[in-house]
Symmetry: C2
Subunit: 386 residues, 2 copies
């Protein structure tokens, strides 16, 4: 037991639950610190949340970031990162790291990827070199990254996919999950290390197949469960329906992670459905395209009406960007393609996402999540002269 949190070592504890919804607030312990859930995790694909320093991430309230197994395996490679005993020291980030397994990228980014029972053979998108990624290797790479939360290798499919294709994918995902667990047991659990391994549920847009996948993956047993294969092009109502169904069937005692979703509205809905963890490139990528998130909705900073606007992006926002810079300056930097533009926009957007979920958590703890949710939508409707 951990004295401070009263948590069994590396456990997950529910602190508060919403009465009207399935929203819950929890504490998830890792060897680099305790994460308050629900939590938004900024994406640091290549060992850097694009344009931001670790100090800026912390200042935004970031508790945990994502790294990408596929990308970091190809570049700089495990031999480099192992010299630093993992990603934390390599990139100077002292808090927890979650790494995805590389499954998604192998199917979406790599060239000529070829599935087999043993694993997936693919060509690097950088230099065309050939690689074999197996479930064992996916875990081994993540061990080298010293990821606090590792993900099983899964078989990601495109949308739409046939029932048959979806079923095959979830079946191999389950067999791979078993092999990932075995590798994790041998190389982590049995030697007393504390890195966690999460299972990933697939099953496409078919509820009965989602149920089969959930049964398969929970049967193997993991420290947490992720719902993969959402936000891949399906309509929003289907995404929410599948998430709703899957979240309700996953065991409540474990953290539930929705991978790669989504807009602020999506996140609020998913928190209400019981999701605990989120990652998405939207705040960072959109920032670099000049799109800013605010409590009154999205704002395109390049809009000419901001040319002479001396206000901060969002009056009252406590992020570094809003405390120090005007819309006029940010528009100028963006129009001039200044590197500082991407950074200042990213800081605001990451601060927005991280704190939106933090506020949702505070509301859950106070038993006010439903009121918070309503306020969120009313605020979004205020158009603020934009």
């Amino acid at each position: 037991m951990d004295k401070k949190t009263n948590l069994p070592h590396l456990n997950f504890k529910i602190e508060a639950e919403s009465k009207e919804t399935r929203a819950r607030a929890g504490l998830l312990e890792t060897s680099h610190g305790i994460i308050e859930t629900p939590v938004f995790m900024p994406v640091g694909t290549l060992g850097s949340v694009k344009s931001m320093s670790p100090e800026e991430l912390s200042d935004c309230g970031t508790q945990i970031i994502l790294g990408n197994t596929y990308h970091l395996y190809l570049r700089p490679g495990c031999d480099v990162i192992s010299l630093f005993s993992g990603l934390h020291k390599f990139m100077n980030w002292k808090k927890p790291v979650l790494t995805d397994s590389g499954g998604f990228q192998v199917f979406s980014l790599a060239k000529l990827s070829k599935m087999a029972e043993n694993g997936v053979t693919f060509q690097s998108h950088i230099d065309g070199s050939s690689h074999l990624l197996t479930p064992e290797k996916a875990v081994e790479i993540q061990i080298c990254l010293n990821s606090d939360i590792m993900m099983c290798l899964d078989n990601c499919i495109a949308y739409p996919a046939s029932r048959d294709e979806t079923q095959k994918a979830l079946e191999i995902t389950a067999r791979w999950a078993k092999r990932c667990k075995n590798t994790w047991k041998e190389k982590i659990e049995n030697i007393g290390k504390t890195n966690r391994l999460f299972g990933i549920v697939q099953g496409g847009m078919f509820k009965d197949l989602r149920k089969i996948s959930i049964d398969d993956i929970t049967e193997i047993g993991f420290s947490g469960y992720a719902i993969g294969g959402l936000s891949v092009g399906e309509p929003k109502d289907i995404m929410l329906e599948i998430a709703d169904f899957s979240l309700s069937k996953l065991p409540d005692a474990k953290p539930k992670y929705i991978m790669g979703v989504g807009t602020p509205e999506d996140l609020i809905e998913l928190v209400g459905l019981g999701a605990d963890m989120f990652d998405c490139v939207m705040p960072t990528r959109n920032a670099r395209n000049g799109q800013i998130f605010t409590k009154h909705g999205k704002m395109n900073i390049y809009n000419s009406r901001f040319r002479t606007d001396t206000n901060p992006i969002e009056p009252g926002c406590t992020c570094y960007t809003c405390r120090n810079y005007s819309r006029a300056y940010l528009r100028h930097l963006f129009m001039s393609k200044e590197l500082l533009s991407y950074r200042l926009n990213t800081i605001h957007n990451v601060h927005y996402y991280v704190n939106l979920i933090r506020k949702a958590r505070n509301a859950i703890c106070k038993g006010e999540f439903e009121a918070f949710r309503k306020d969120f939508y009313s605020e979004q409707d205020i158009k603020d002269k934009r």
Copy 2:
């Protein structure tokens, strides 16, 4: 008189002089603070030293930055910057700003620039719109920027240039300087404002023409004098010879500014010849191309030998980058084209340049400049296995 510095208001005071060389340490007062000279001024062309925040500039020891009149006039425009009462508040920089007059850019960047006695007509490199820049307008724009140190509009010529062309350019530069001074008197001095105006000496690579230009410009009288038209493609020995000659003829009671030069070696030589102020894009631009300055010479961070190098760029360096990141990480960021790469490289290079000149100043104050200069060259010769 200023109580703290014992300086007459907005004056320049020599604190120490080298015995073996013409190097000197001074204090230059501006309305945004006192600058210790010699000083290196990072270049913030468009209201941002590319990739760096104002806090990072300060942390590097930056005392004053440059802004660019031509660029800021075209984008965002004076109407925008005047809403912030100048560049400082627009870009959140609280220390002094020097702005060049736009002369160099009008001749090098703009399209179809056409000289006349009244001024120069040019087409914007952004949208092709036509503009007339006169000496009066150059000063007015800089007043709008609220620049602490403004520069006269000069006629910059290419290298090589004929004697005749050079003479004509220095003559019109003198007539324009007079007109700049008149505008400055009327709109600054006569209403009790404290922004300074510096004159610019031209004369190409002809010593006798340099002498004529120096006489013309000092006859008009300015708060400081800049040597323009160097580092435009001439051999290094000629650059140093012309700088040597010009610096020796300029009045010692005023700050002497060498525009747009140069390498660390150039700066050390020029400090020894009595130069007080420098600006150059080299530390910032080269950083973005992966070239790093160190006391042991230049380092290309993309070199494969740094792939597994866990050392900081320069062991012992106190910059943010060296305190927190390895060569291996910096190489990885550069190879991956991560935005953080440009920022971390720039921080180191700006810190290097600013502190090289600061150390030169300390050596002058201790009467040890010549020893410092020798040490600088011995250190540069150490190859550090690179």
